[in-house]
C-alpha cells in the first residue's frame, strides 16, 4: 500500500519505523560522514519547527527524510524541553496535514487503521450538500475532536449515525493531524538514559535554539492544586509577584500560604511557590507553612483572611464578578472550581 515516498512524507508511520529497523542502523552510525545529510535535515526540521512552527517538505533524499525524523525527535527528547517537544510535534503534524488532505480516501483509510488503530467505514454518503467519504467510530472521533475548538467539530453539529461520525476527506486529515501530534509528543517523552556522544553538540545547539526562539524557560510553575485556574485574582497576583522576585508583604504571604494550605496543596508545592522570593529561606518558609497548616504550635489550622481584611491591606487585586458573590478567597475558589467543572451547586451522588 505504501511506497518509500509515502514513508518520507509520513515518517511517523509504523511502517517508517519498521523500515528503519530493517536498515539495521545503530546510534553510532550517526557519526559517520554518510550520515551527514540525515543530521543536517534533522537539524533543519528542528530549526524550522522552533522558529516558524512549520516544517517544510523536502523529498529529494527519501532516506534522509525518513531517518531524520526520529533523529530530530531524539535530540529534542535529550534537551528535556517539553515546550519545544510540543512545538515540534505541532509543526510536524501540520506538515502531515497539508500532505494528508491531498491523499486518496483509500490511503487515508489505511493510515488511520494501521498506524492509529481507528475503526472507520468508507461510506460515500451525501445527506445534504456535502459529500462524506468516511464514518469514523465515535471514540476515535472524540479523542481527537475534543482538541478542536471550532463549532463544526462539536458533536451536536455532526451527523452521527449508529456510532459513526460522518467526515469528509479533509476533515479526516485534520483529525489525523491531532493523532499525529499526540503520537509525536508521546514518543518524544520516552527519554533514553544518557546523551550518545555523536549527538552531544547537536543537543547543545538545539538548547540554544530553544532559548533563542522560545525564551528562557520559567523555573516557576503554578503549585499543583486541584484546580489552579480557579484561584482568585488576588492569589494569582501574589504568585506572579513572587515569581517575578517582587517583595511581598507579610499579609500577602500569609494569605497565599493559608489559601494554598486550605485548598489542599502539598507542603512541598507551597514552599516552592515562595522560592522565587528574593529573601527566600527554605527553613523559615517551611516552618511557617507547617504552623499555618496546624502542624506546629497551637495545632489550629489557619483559614484564609476575609476579603474585607485583604482590601484594607491592599492584597485584594482586581476583584471580578465572582468576587462580588463571596467574602473569602476560599469561597471564590470553591465557587469558581464548580463553575469550571460545570458542576453547579454541590449535590449528593445520584
Amino acid at each position: 500500500m505504501l511506497t518509500r515516498a509515502d514513508l518520507a512524507k509520513y515518517p511517523f508511520l509504523n511502517e517508517a519505523s519498521d523500515y528503519i529497523k530493517e536498515l539495521g542502523i545503530s546510534i553510532d552510525d550517526i557519526a559517520s560522514p554518510d550520515f551527514s545529510p540525515v543530521l543536517e535535515r534533522a537539524e533543519k526540521r528542528l530549526e524550522e519547527a522552533l522558529s516558524k512552527g512549520r516544517v517544510s517538505n523536502e523529498f529529494g533524499n527519501e532516506n534522509a527524510e525518513i531517518l531524520s525524523f526520529p533523529v530530530s525527535n531524539l535530540i529534542l527528547s535529550l534537551t528535556g524541553e517539553e515546550r519545544a517537544q510540543r512545538r515540534f510535534a505541532l509543526a510536524e503534524a501540520k506538515r502531515a496535514y497539508e500532505l494528508l488532505r491531498q491523499e486518496s480516501p483509500e490511503k487515508l483509510d489505511y493510515i488511520a487503521r494501521t498506524t492509529f488503530g481507528w475503526k472507520l467505514n468508507k461510506i460515500d454518503a451525501q445527506p445534504g450538500k456535502r459529500f462524506y467519504d468516511f464514518g469514523i467510530s465515535l471514540a476515535d472521533y472524540l479523542r481527537n475532536s475534543v482538541h478542536l475548538k471550532e463549532p463544526k467539530w462539536k458533536l451536536p453539529n455532526r451527523i452521527l449515525d449508529h456510532g459513526l461520525v460522518y467526515a469528509t476527506r479533509e476533515e479526516l486529515a485534520r483529525l489525523l493531524e491531532e493523532e499525529v501530534r499526540t503520537k509525536i509528543v508521546d514518543r518524544s517523552s520516552r527519554l533514553p538514559g544518557e546523551i550518545p556522544k555523536p549527538l552531544q553538540p547537536k543537543v547543545e545547539r538545539t538548547r540554544g535554539l530553544i532559548t533563542k526562539w522560545l525564551g528562557v524557560p520559567s523555573h516557576y510553575e503554578l503549585p499543583r492544586v486541584p484546580s489552579p485556574e480557579a484561584m482568585p485574582p488576588c492569589v494569582k497576583h501574589l504568585i506572579d509577584d513572587l515569581a517575578e522576585g517582587k517583595n511581598v508583604q507579610h499579609m500577602g504571604r500569609f494569605t497565599l500560604a493559608s489559601f494554598l494550605v486550605n485548598i489542599g496543596a502539598g507542603e512541598e508545592d507551597i514552599v516552592k511557590a515562595f522560592k522565587p522570593a528574593s529573601d527566600f529561606s527554605e527553613r523559615m518558609t517551611r516552618y511557617q507553612v507547617e504552623h499555618i497548616a496546624g502542624k506546629r504550635g497551637g495545632r489550629t489550622k489557619y483559614t484564609c483572611p476575609m476579603c474585607t481584611t485583604l482590601k484594607t491591606h491592599g492584597v485584594c487585586y482586581k476583584p471580578d464578578d465572582i468576587c462580588s458573590t463571596i467574602r473569602n478567597p476560599l469561597s471564590y475558589y470553591k465557587s469558581k472550581a464548580r463553575i469550571l467543572t460545570g458542576k453547579g451547586p454541590k449535590r449528593e451522588p445520584s
Binding site: P127, G128, K129, R130, S137, L138, A139, L142, R143, S145, V146, P151, K152, K154, L155, P156, N157, R158, I159, L160, D161, H162, G163, L164, Y166, T325, S335, T341, G342, K343, G344, P345, R347, E348, P349, S350
Partner: protein
C-alpha cells in the same frame, strides 16, 4: 440518629436481612469502589471493595446504610486513596432526574429555602438565592406521577438516541429506576469505557443538543434568481438532522402557542402543508416564513427532542452511583432494574414498594400522592395509620414523625 432515622434504619435492616434478598451488583464487581452513606451522622464510608456479591450483601446487612453506591469507574486498587486507585475505565452513565426537568407541577409540591438569608420559594430551587446570591439552598422535593412520567419520556428519548445515533448495542445498556425521581442508564462497553471527561461531555452535549448550530446542519438561506429560499435538512436523515425535522413536524401539528412566534406566523404555518417536510429539502414554500422563523422552530424542535440528562453525572469518571437492588434513603423505595422493553408500562409507584404491613405516623405536612392503587393525603398536622410503604415515604422525606 433521631427517632425517625432509627425507625427507618430498623425497617431497612429487616428488609436487607430477608434471606431471599439479593443485590444487583454491577459487572466486574471486584474492580469497583463501594460507598455507603450511614444513618449515623450522615457519614460516608468510601473506598470499600468486595470480591463477590455475597460479601457485599453481608456488608449491607451489617452497616444498614441509608444509601448504597458503587463507582462507575473500574480500578486496579479500588480501596486505595483516589490518586492511587489506578483508573482503568468507567461505565458511561446517564442520569435523568425530575430535579432537572421543568415540570409545571413543581410549585405544587417542591419548595426551597436559602440557608444564608432564609428566603423561601415554591418550585425547584434556583441556582443562586435571588436575594443574597448564595448557593446554599435547601430543597424539599416530592415525587409525583407527572414528574416521573416526564422523566420516563426523557429516558425513552435517551435510549433511542443511544441506539440509533451512538450505535450502542442494547445488550450493553442497563436501565434502572433510581428509587426517587428518575432513571439511570448504564452503558457497559469497550468502546465507551475509555472515554475521558471531555469526550463524555461531548456526548452529553449531543444528547442535550447543547451548542447545536442549525447552519452547520445546512439550514441556510439561498437565493435563486433574486428570490430568497430557506433550505434545510430532510426528514429521515441520520442524527440530529432528521430529528430536527421530525420535531418541527410535530410542532406544526400542535397548537403552536407559546413558542415565540407571532400569530401571523402561526397562521401562515398552519395553512402550510407540513407534509412538505417529508418530501423536499426546500422549506421555503411556506409563505411569509423566513429563515429566522425556521431557526426559532429548530430551537423548539431541539428542546422537544433532546434528552434532559444531568451533564455532571455523565462527565464525572470517578462518580459513585446508586446500586440497584438497594433502598433509596430519600424515599424507602427500591432502586431497581427495569427491562428496557418494559419502560413504558413500568409503574414507579407500584413495583419498587419494599415494605408491607401498617404503621402509624404523625404527618407535619405533605402533598397528596399515590402508591399502588391507593391515593393518600394531602395531610396537615395529623396522625394517620398507613400502609408501611406510604408511612416510610413520609418518614424518609422528613414529612412525618414516627409514633411509638
Amino acid at each position: 440518629m433521631n427517632q425517625a432515622e432509627q425507625v427507618i434504619r430498623q425497617k431497612f435492616q429487616q428488609y436487607y436481612l430477608d434471606p431471599k434478598r439479593q443485590l444487583d451488583p454491577p459487572l466486574n464487581p471486584s474492580e469497583r469502589e463501594y460507598g455507603f452513606l450511614l444513618f449515623n451522622g450522615k457519614f460516608m464510608v468510601r473506598h470499600r471493595s468486595f470480591k463477590d456479591p455475597l460479601s457485599l450483601l453481608t456488608a449491607v446487612r451489617d452497616l444498614v446504610p441509608s444509601h448504597v453506591y458503587f463507582s462507575t469507574a473500574y480500578y486496579r486498587e479500588p480501596t486505595a486513596p483516589m490518586e492511587e486507585k489506578g483508573w482503568t475505565g468507567a461505565d458511561l452513565v446517564f442520569d435523568i432526574d425530575a430535579d432537572h426537568l421543568n415540570t409545571p407541577c413543581k410549585p405544587d409540591h417542591d419548595n426551597w429555602k436559602c440557608k444564608a438569608c432564609g428566603t423561601t420559594g415554591n418550585g425547584g430551587a434556583p441556582k443562586l438565592c435571588p436575594k443574597c446570591k448564595n448557593d446554599r439552598l435547601e430543597e424539599q422535593t416530592w415525587l409525583c406521577d407527572r414528574c416521573l412520567q416526564e422523566a420516563k419520556e426523557e429516558t425513552a428519548k435517551l435510549l433511542e438516541m443511544l441506539y440509533t445515533d451512538l450505535g450502542i448495542d442494547n445488550e450493553a445498556t442497563r436501565l434502572f429506576f433510581s428509587g426517587h425521581r428518575g432513571y439511570h442508564v448504564h452503558v457497559y462497553s469497550k468502546q465507551t469505557s475509555q472515554l475521558g471527561e471531555e469526550e463524555r461531555r461531548e456526548i452529553a452535549d449531543y444528547l442535550l443538543a447543547q451548542g447545536l448550530d442549525p447552519q452547520l446542519h445546512e439550514l441556510e438561506e439561498t437565493s435563486v434568481g433574486g428570490t430568497k429560499l430557506a433550505e434545510g435538512p430532510l426528514i429521515g436523515q441520520p442524527g440530529w438532522r432528521g430529528r430536527i425535522v421530525a420535531g418541527i413536524y410535530d410542532i406544526l401539528g400542535s397548537e403552536m402557542d407559546q413558542i415565540g412566534l407571532t400569530s401571523t406566523q402561526v397562521h401562515a404555518l398552519k395553512s402550510w402543508d407540513r407534509e412538505n417536510l417529508l418530501r423536499k429539502p426546500f422549506w421555503n414554500s411556506a409563505k411569509g416564513i423566513g429563515i429566522s422563523t425556521w431557526k426559532t422552530l429548530v430551537t423548539k424542535a431541539v428542546e422537544k427532542k433532546s434528552a434532559k440528562i444531568d451533564t455532571v453525572v455523565t462527565t464525572d469518571i470517578h462518580r459513585l452511583i446508586r446500586m440497584p437492588g438497594t433502598l433509596n434513603g430519600h424515599t424507602g423505595l427500591l432502586a431497581m432494574k427495569v427491562p428496557e422493553e418494559r419502560l413504558d408500562e413500568f409503574d414507579p409507584f407500584t413495583e419498587p414498594l419494599a415494605f408491607h404491613g401498617q404503621m402509624k405516623v404523625k404527618v407535619k405536612v405533605s402533598p397528596g400522592f399515590r402508591l399502588g392503587e391507593e391515593r393518600f393525603g394531602p395531610y396537615h398536622d395529623e396522625t394517620v395509620q398507613l400502609p408501611s410503604a406510604a408511612a416510610m415515604l413520609l418518614l424518609c422525606k422528613h414529612r412525618a414523625e414516627p409514633i411509638a
